[in-house]
């Protein structure tokens, strides 16, 4: 390549007269972070997996559920299960990839304000989560129509908008737990294992403890985040349930997230 061509391509320093560049708007960070969630093979299949899992779960209900159980509630429950596993992993990987794959070295030199990058990732993860759940709910609705048509019964829509909203909230909370573990642990494997311990091992232990210890059974709604979320899934949230959710959420989600973000801001990126 000749000097002239190099000059034009690098554009180096004719730039002296160039006006000072403007800052990077938050929307651009968010849209680029969104792109980064889909542009690797693993990221793409994780996202595709949401739709695939919803279709498989819907198919299973159509095939195996009795006519009496062919209600929208059954479909929603079936498509909801894979969501509770996949969405937190989406959130975890969006954060931990920067450390596990070391791409943070580039990301945080292009956007030195790490807080903005992390905020963009959080916003995009939540948006992806909400869209995914609505997509899954849509697939479940199609399944409900098809399934009942095949069985020759009337479709039953026994889920209110408020119920759906609570399920969305429950899934977003799960996703934020993944996000929290991501910023706290900053390693893909560790954070994913952490998530499974957090949402599958801890509840089992808590249930065992509650079964044998009366004092814990009384205390549980105020200290067990998973337990406090239970009412979200069966659509029976009352004022006290919201209070349980707020108190346990502060301890198990808000405080650890704050700690994680603080660590991200001051840690060394290597």
């Amino acid at each position: 390549m000749s000097t002239l061509e190099t000059t034009r391509a690098t554009g180096a320093v004719s730039a002296a007269e160039r006006p000072a560049p403007r800052g990077i708007p938050m929307t651009r960070i968010a849209s680029t972070e969104l792109r980064k969630m889909f542009d690797t093979r693993s990221g793409f299949w994780l996202m595709a997996g949401i739709a695939i899992a919803a279709v498989l779960a819907t198919g299973a209900v159509v095939l195996f559920a009795s006519d009496a159980n062919l209600t929208y509630n059954s479909f929603a429950a079936a498509v909801g299960v894979p969501m509770t596993v996949i969405l937190p992993i989406v959130a975890i990987l969006s954060v931990t990839g920067e450390w596990s794959q070391r791409s943070g070295l580039t990301t945080f030199t292009i956007v030195p304000n790490r807080g903005r990058v992390i905020a963009a990732k959080a916003a995009v993860s939540v948006a992806v989560g909400v869209v995914s759940i609505l997509l899954a709910a849509g697939i479940g609705a199609v399944g409900n129509l098809v399934g009942t048509a095949i069985a020759g019964v009337d479709p039953v829509w026994n889920l209110s908008v408020a119920d759906v909203a609570e399920i969305v909230l429950a899934n977003v909370l799960g996703l934020l737990v993944g996000f929290m573990l991501g910023v706290l642990i900053r390693g893909s494997a560790g954070a994913i294992v952490g998530y499974f311990v957090y949402s599958f091992v801890l509840p089992t232990l808590a249930a065992l403890l509650a079964a044998s210890q009366h004092w814990f059974r009384v205390l549980q709604p105020w200290v067990d985040f998973n337990f406090a979320q239970g009412a979200l899934y069966n659509g029976s949230m009352k004022a006290q349930d919201w209070a349980h959710l707020a108190v346990t959420g502060a301890g198990w989600l808000v405080i650890p997230t704050a700690l994680g973000v603080w660590l991200v801001m001051r840690s060394e990126v290597k």
Partner: protein, 311 residues
């Protein structure tokens, strides 16, 4: 312009960068030279805000890197070519940078062209890239925002000789157009051929800095003698400062003809005598390196008999 002032970085019980001060000027290539672990990468990471310093400042054009509104448009950075998501394609990595910086999409193709990555290579995942291809991609990422300052950590690693030549020409052009280049290396030759200014760092401290011409000029001469002790005394009496270099060599701060005259008068046999052009820097650098090397090289005498080996 890059300004490093009294920069120090300590980790628990160990100082990686110890009170260093230097400046990289526009229109010049500044070589940052030092053995592995001397503190080059730490300094560069502090400069771009990835590592917080313990004390001191590092600024670019008078501002801290993290306060630049869109740093990629002003400073091109390549710290570690392997630090990329292995599952992304080369083109995708450039596209992400292009989007973050808010550049027109054609910059991606221009950069692929500039670093000679073919469309086929650009659509491969970085996992399958050689180190040389990763370096080219890293250079492309650094240059995509048309910055006026370049910060490159060991950019020649993994490049083949033609690639090294290409990189050297590119950096030369870039500086000739008024750009500021700071590049690090642990290889003296690499720095010597491209840099205008050299900063030598060892064990976190700056041991020499200045224009390349000056650093090389101050070299004096190099002399070898089987009677080094005799020669050393004679030179000292003649008021010529010396320092040992190698098993039977001396660096003398005088012209070769002066050293030769003294040696002749003292009756010390001389086996080699030459101007130590560049060797001054090289000797200093070797000394630095051997200090930090884990395994000391076997010393050999002039007639190649092992010395200091266990009897």
């Amino acid at each position: 312009m890059i300004d490093i002032e009294s920069l120090t970085k300590s980790y628990r019980g160990f100082t990686a960068v110890d009170d260093i001060t230097f400046r990289a000027r526009p229109g010049r290539v500044t070589g940052f030279l030092g053995p592995n672990g001397a503190g080059k990468s730490t300094t560069m990471r502090i400069l771009v805000g990835l590592t917080p310093p313990t004390s001191g400042t590092a600024t670019i054009g008078g501002r801290r890197f993290s306060s630049l509104p869109n740093p990629g448009r002003e400073v091109g950075v390549l710290l570690d070519a392997s630090a990329q998501h292995a599952g992304r394609t080369g083109r995708e990595i450039l596209t992400i940078a292009q989007r973050f910086m808010g550049l027109p999409r054609r910059r991606v193709d221009e950069m692929l062209d500039l670093v000679s990555l073919t469309p086929e290579e650009a659509s491969r995942r970085v996992r399958n890239y050689s180190l040389g291809m990763r370096q080219r991609l890293g250079i492309a990422t650094a240059l995509i925002g048309e910055p006026q300052v370049l910060i490159l950590d060991e950019p020649a690693n993994g490049l083949d000789p033609a690639g090294i030549r290409w990189m050297r020409d590119l950096l030369r052009d870039y500086a000739d157009q008024g750009g500021t280049v700071l590049l690090s290396s642990h290889l003296l030759h690499e720095i010597e051929v491209v840099a205008d200014d050299i900063v030598v760092i060892g064990n976190g401290r700056i041991v020499a800095q200045g224009a390349k011409a000056e650093l090389l000029q101050a070299a004096g001469s190099f002399v070898r003698s089987p009677r080094r002790d005799l020669l050393e005394m004679a030179l000292e009496r003649a008021g010529i400062a010396t320092s040992p270099a190698g098993p039977d060599g001396l660096r003398a701060e005088a012209e070769a003809h002066q050293v030769g005259t003294v040696a002749f008068a003292a009756g010390a046999p001389v086996t080699e005598l030459r101007p130590a052009d560049g060797a001054g820097l090289e000797e200093m650098f070797l000394e630095l390196t051997s200090d930090t090397q884990r395994d000391t090289p076997i010393q050999t005498t002039g007639d190649n008999r092992p010395q200091g080996a266990v009897a």
